[in-house]
Symmetry: none
Subunit: 215 residues, 4 copies
């Protein structure tokens, strides 16, 4: 599934286009995250990419396209991490799977904290269709988590009133580590945050309390 289908480019070699766009997205991420979308100008992006401004526009139709590439790439990375993880966890006991899921997700958010915050701030600058694509991708993360929860429910290990909502809580509380770092960063470490949120969540859903005790 190509998310970047309708970004105009004046180049004909699709492979070159793809690799250049990957390059642009990677480099632009840094500048965007540092200065914000509106306050970053195209010269700075081109500099960061080591390309000329004119050439940049051979692979991208507008500054907004670059924003899309950046957000899409970051989200795709995270989604892939999550999906791969879920595949690996398909045979693990639900409670442990959930613990692993949260830990991996939250650490991923922690590593890319700047990007996560950026997403919350700048997605609004996308055109409606681009924005919709991004939101759809973000929705999938919740869906994946929800699926994990449902497996636990089906196996009888979890009792969850509204798995969709709990999945949403799990995902967004992870984001909050990045978005509200100015608050949380002064009050606990990421590992503490992960541990406490994990236990708090498990406590609400575990049918058999004893499973809660973990190293």
């Amino acid at each position: 599934m190509q998310l970047t289908d309708d970004i105009r480019s004046s180049s004909s070699d699709p492979e070159l286009v793809a690799s250049r766009r990957e390059h642009i997205a990677r480099c632009a991420t840094h500048v965007f995250v540092k200065k914000g979308y509106d306050r970053t100008n195209v010269d700075e992006i081109a500099d960061a990419c080591g390309m000329s401004k004119g050439n940049l526009y051979n692979y991208v139709g507008s500054k907004e396209d670059i924003l899309y590439l950046v957000i899409d790439r970051g989200l795709t990375n995270l989604t892939k991490t999550i999906e791969d993880l879920c595949d690996r966890l398909s045979n693990v006991a639900p409670a442990d799977a959930l613990r692993e899921f949260i830990k991996t997700l939250y650490r991923g958010v922690g590593e890319d904290a700047d990007f996560t915050l950026f997403t919350y701030q700048e997605t609004k600058n996308l055109s409606p269709t681009a924005r919709q694509r991004i939101l759809d991708a973000a929705s999938r993360d919740v869906a994946v988590c929800e699926e994990l929860l449902r497996r636990g429910v089906e196996s009888g290990e979890f009792k969850i009133n509204n798995p969709m909502l709990l999945a949403h809580n799990i995902i967004t509380l992870g984001h909050m580590w990045a978005v509200r770092r100015w608050f949380l960063g002064k009050r606990c470490t990421l590992e503490e945050y992960i541990r406490e949120q994990t236990e708090s969540i498990l406590k609400t859903i575990l049918v058999d309390e004893r499973t809660t005790i973990e190293s």
Copy 2:
């Protein structure tokens, strides 16, 4: 508590300045929320205020000052709502008080959803000192909630591992209704959201489960 002390104005009548700034903040909120901070220009703000651009600058030193007025006003309103509420709840049983707190807070966020989202997106555009003031104000909300939780703990009704973190969860999950309306809005109503989050939270902290049953 006047947060807007050091915004320069060329008018000397403090009452007029205060009333005009209130007016500006109220009117600018609408334009800002609709178009975003960077994409709103000062002409549009002046129009929305029914003032000339020049006169606007008699009460405000820069466009950023307007952003500060807008965010500060919105946050102050919410904080006041919360604090008044907590005063009223000081004699109420902790579980009911928490239920009431969440309901009021989340409904407040729901009513001002655009503004809440705006805050998450645009606080970054403030100068460091202005930004710090805003974040301090936002921190107080968490502190108020934490205090409420601690009362329940002291009375023996709640058992909470980390009240600060739970308070933070309560507050931010409220915000999420506004920030992720594109997701939640399609999946449940605000009242459902409130009810489910409330029960989920209470379930984790209530010492005596039976208290969960509410009218």
Copy 3:
């Protein structure tokens, strides 16, 4: 001789107008000299005058009028000093009269150095007619000096090829103390400047060299 005839004012009492204008000229001089004409705004002038902006405009038709008042007042002061001096010197021997003239003139420039420089820089901002008036006033200073020189020539004490030009040199070299203070100020004192210029001038024009020796 009223130089300020055609400055519009909305006041009818001519005495009040005159006294207010004198006040305005005196106060505005300081701000103008400090910040330059273009970089001084009318608010600052009104502040310096202790009047409201609106009232200021009762006595003056425009910002340029204020510039005129300021320059005119300064020049009139200097011219009067010079003319009074020449009256007192009418019975003094030409060489001593010239010495006294130069000393007084140059010290006057030295005291008002900022204003003198200001005149060189900002007269250009006057309207043609106002400018002409100022230049006429400035020409009179040269004429007065020239007259002094001619008296020495007639008495046989001076031999001067072109009294007009020498008078002009005497006047402008005086101005230069103010205009090129950044250069001269680091290299000699005003009194040295006066002494050396005086002797250099007298040496050129004295018929009998011995008169050069002075206390």
Copy 4:
């Protein structure tokens, strides 16, 4: 000696930058001299340069930079004229050398009268460091002239009390032809001015009076 080192430009080709700046300085001189610095707006400068405003700012960081370029270029031209002249005059007899120096300098000022006047009026608008550079350049002119005078003193042809001051007089009286053209222009020609000032100066310093007689 490049005085314009630290003017920011967004172009990287130093030759292009230099040639464009030369072009800008030359064209801007006309507009500035005609309307004054503050009353000239950037659109007019761009028009005069035949460039778009945006492109102008590729070679210059601010309007003030343009002022600097203009003044610096004019002064550099004059200084070079003077220095070249002095080289050529190094073997000429001091009195004749001085005559030639004054004639060339004053004619140079006469040709660039508008620019000379402009310098007296607008140097004040430069930032302190830029202003200092300009004043340093202007000081060198005096130093060159002083050197010329000292050669005459050493050769025994001149007797000068204070060569620095006389050099300063020579230079500034030259400037006065431009600065006070409104006065002098109506009373004598430039050539008369040159002749009379020259003779007046030589008369004061020549040891042997007879040398004064020249064609």
